[in-house]
Symmetry: C2
Subunit: 525 residues, 2 copies
């Protein structure tokens, strides 16, 4: 049963649709619910969001059995360890995840496709393989939550709506995951079953944030009329990660397989879409990324670069971190408090974490958040020369930022430029539906093709936030975003930061993000 | 003084030009000649090409002093060793190269810009640096021929024709070279002063092949009317290398700096133009490539990938080569005898070199030489959707070839697919002017963004060649190309092969090419 609020929003969304579309969508919605095994269907009334904003933690655990709770509490790293050693069977892990996904969906509406039975079949095969050979199938053996949460999957095989099985194999990345021993059990735009998909969807309606069910799990990017054609989702993976209080990784183009993922603008290559994983820990992000790279995806996807995981860079970064514990000036981070267009809601001291107490200067180029040239509207059909000119502009912007970054080596005292930038992900925590007005904090990273890791920091709290009523607004959007702050509704909304590195610096950024999240845990404990 | 034939061709080329253009071009041509120091200007009559086809070897050495000859005979690797240790001064090395370039230009018309004085100044600074610090400036200290021969340099700073000094610093690559200690002394489309540039040029006229001055040093690609817009030069670096009997390296996009290089279609990114070095040995190609990468060009050029030289891959390939000496089946090469469109002139047994005596199957996809979709004519202005569709087509072609390559692991017996493809560079040796009719052997590599090294093999010889008069032609172009074979004119024309690896396999291909060229030397000795 859907909560009243979800159903209400669902109907609202359908207000402008033809009766045929509504019928098809309704059928699809019921099909998803119908694919949930009867034993997991919730019969009792679900409390509305105002009464029960947060469905995570104890609440959702109330639906699960003790073994499932134990599995749920484990992260991908220990789970894979348990399944690879045979302590947990792939079947019991898969069942636990399917169960939780089923419960979550009935509360926040987060699944687009369900193929639990297929997943259980794969899990059985994995168990059989392990018991026959004594060896795990691959680095992700029995892993399951790893198979969700890739931007770009939503909409794959849309033409084959009725063929649920076809959706199991959707693109090179999923194939690599399966080869590494992972199990795919559903499709959603976010990774963990408690996390939610895109906001407005004519099939399933509105997906709510499980932490605070009056907020979006992921802002719908951009304004009303403008379609951002150069980027399937300028918010990328980082916004859903930040809004859900988990870790996310935005990769530079070419680092992970993309072939076969849904893309409404296939073939445009001014800014290549990238898939990005989200996980509950940096360790599991790394596990996943390394597992994918271990499959040598460059031999199967023409868009993937021949760049295996670099142990050298990881170790070099580790050494730097270790040395910086004694001498904090060895590691420097730039802090971008705002992008000079829209200042985030009630800037908080939590943003000021600086791993090395080093430079905390402003690295943001003035106005970098807005690169109007990079937004193409569909009503104008660009010609070859326009696109070529845009590509040149993009390269010049990349070059300008590159030199800007290079030059700050005079400020750091390490002989190197800053090692990374710490920066907001959006000008607000998980957003109120339809209030996502500014994508500047993520779009500039996309244009630069930089690496970015999202690190969850805290949750918005009524007590923590003061709104400055005498603020000098940076822009009209800034004023609007500030005016839309609501201490009640935002209470409990996850807040994340992003750690930005330069192009193709995934190894370094993941290693630094691990360090920062550890430091954060200590600080916030 | 120009040879009569060069002058004749020069005038021919100007037949259709306005008197103003002819005046400007004439002035430029004289400016280049005027920039050659008087002591190096040849006063006597130069024999015409029919009487003196080959100006290399003893002939050109007749113009040089013994010390210069010694320097000329050395390759970049020993030269850099000598200059870095102070045995040879950068000044004497630079002077020797300038002298030879001046002599060569007066025979084959190969220079576009001359800045000998500036080069001598840089050389003096290098010598001063070495004597003051005891250390070379960089891995290319005193190296000089390294600074030539990059496709894409011709035409740089065209707007600033009068500013010869400005041409010294032309693009990121040259800056990296200079930082590594190299000296730039002239501009030409080929690397060594004996090698020559693009065929038709309204400024300097026609550049001849120094080995056989009735043949082109580099074919003018493509047909008459069609402008190949997706590729500044589909023949890339490989054709001039092969036509001049030297080594060349075509890199995958992003491996070397490109920023600042001339590109008439800046911003198109369906097929990225690449610069490629040419040298007289694989060792010096490797030295150059490693020197460029040691400057970390990815911090200065947004289009360069963060991929330092991989010692691991080099050593791994070396081990494989070493093992294959005992067991030749460990290393396999595919031989592409022709591309099923145009069969090369009188296929020679020299093509059948197989480093490992292993698989010699045909890897060529039928008709791969012609990808008509990748040729855009300027009279059609493509729209965004056309370009996107073209990009998709290109990716599908790359994917198809990728799987085709992957699948041949069933044929090799090594557990891996073939390690590289050995293939012609063009359907003829260095070509007769205006007879370059088929670019298929290089364009398919460009579309695939593969790595390719050109290895000189032999020179065409009247005795070696038999033309089969009962040939079944593969295409009209094939028939035409065969009919244009002339045993007299082609006599002595250099013939090269290319060794093709997959995308971004520069380290492996350079290492294999070194091995193959060593084997070739033994076989052909």
């Amino acid at each position: 049963m859907l909560s009243g609020q979800v159903l209400h929003c669902y109907l609202l969304l359908h207000g402008r649709l033809s009766s045929h579309v509504i019928t098809v969508a309704e059928a699809k919605r019921l099909a998803i619910l119908g694919a949930i095994p009867e034993k997991w269907q919730i019969r009792e009334r679900i409390l509305p969001a105002v009464e029960l904003p947060d469905i995570t933690g104890n609440y959702i655990q109330g639906f699960l059995i003790p073994n499932e709770i134990e599995i749920m509490k484990a992260d991908a790293v220990p789970i894979t360890k348990q399944t690879a050693s045979g302590n947990w069977s792939a079947v019991e892990v898969t069942e636990a995840f399917c169960h939780r996904a089923a419960i979550a969906h009935q509360h926040v509406n987060c699944l687009h496709e369900v193929f639990f039975e297929d997943a259980m079949q794969v899990a059985k095969e994995l168990d059989a393989y392990l018991s026959a050979t004594g060896k795990p199938m691959g680095p992700l053996h029995g892993g399951i939550e790893t198979t969700m949460g890739y931007v770009g999957w939503v909409g794959t095989f849309e033409d084959k709506k009725d063929d649920l099985r076809a959706k199991v194999i959707e693109g090179k990345l999923v194939r690599e995951l399966r080869r590494a021993g992972a199990t795919v059990f559903c499709k959603t735009s976010v990774p963990l079953t408690l996390m939610a998909g895109e906001t407005a969807n004519n099939i399933i309606g509105y997906t709510w944030n499980p932490k605070t069910r009056r907020l979006s799990s992921r802002g719908s990017p951009g304004g009303e009329g403008a379609r951002i054609a150069l980027r399937g989702s300028p918010a990328g993976i980082r916004v859903p990660a930040a809004f859900n209080g988990i870790f996310g990784l935005h990769l530079s183009a070419g680092r992970m397989p993309y072939e076969g993922a849904a893309n409404s603008i296939d073939g445009q290559n001014t800014i290549l879409s990238v898939v990005g994983p989200m996980r509950t820990s940096i360790g599991s992000l790394k596990l996943l990324f390394k597992a994918i790279l271990s499959q040598e995806p460059w031999f199967h996807d023409p868009l993937v670069l021949v760049m295996p995981w670099s142990d050298d860079i990881e170790m070099q970064t580790q050494r730097l971190i270790k040395a910086s514990v004694k001498d904090p000036s060895l590691l420097t981070f730039a802090i971008m408090r705002h992008d000079s267009v829209v200042q985030p809601h009630s800037p908080d001291k939590a943003y000021n974490i600086d791993g090395g107490d080093g430079l905390t200067g402003q690295i943001a180029l003035s106005g970098e958040g807005t690169i109007p040239q990079c937004f193409i509207q569909t009503d104008k059909h660009w010609k070859a020369r326009d696109i070529a000119a845009l590509n040149v502009q993009k390269r010049l912007y990349q070059k300008m930022y590159m030199e800007y970054w290079n030059k700050n080596d005079r400020l750091t005292g390490t002989g190197r430029p800053v090692d990374a930038i710490i920066c907001p992900v959006a000008p607000h925590a998980a957003v109120i539906p339809r209030r996502y007005r500014h994508v500047g904090y993520t779009s500039f990273v996309n244009v630069l093709d930089y690496t970015s890791a999202v690190i969850p920091v805290t949750n918005a709290g009524k007590a923590m936030c003061r709104i400055d009523t005498h603020m000098n607004y940076l822009s009209e959007t800034h004023e609007q975003v500030q005016s839309e702050y609501d201490a009640e509704i935002y209470h409990g909304a996850p807040v994340g930061i992003q750690l930005i590195g330069r192009r193709l610096e995934e190894e370094m950024i993941l290693t630094l993000a691990e360090f920062i999240s550890r430091e954060l845990e200590n600080v916030l404990k």
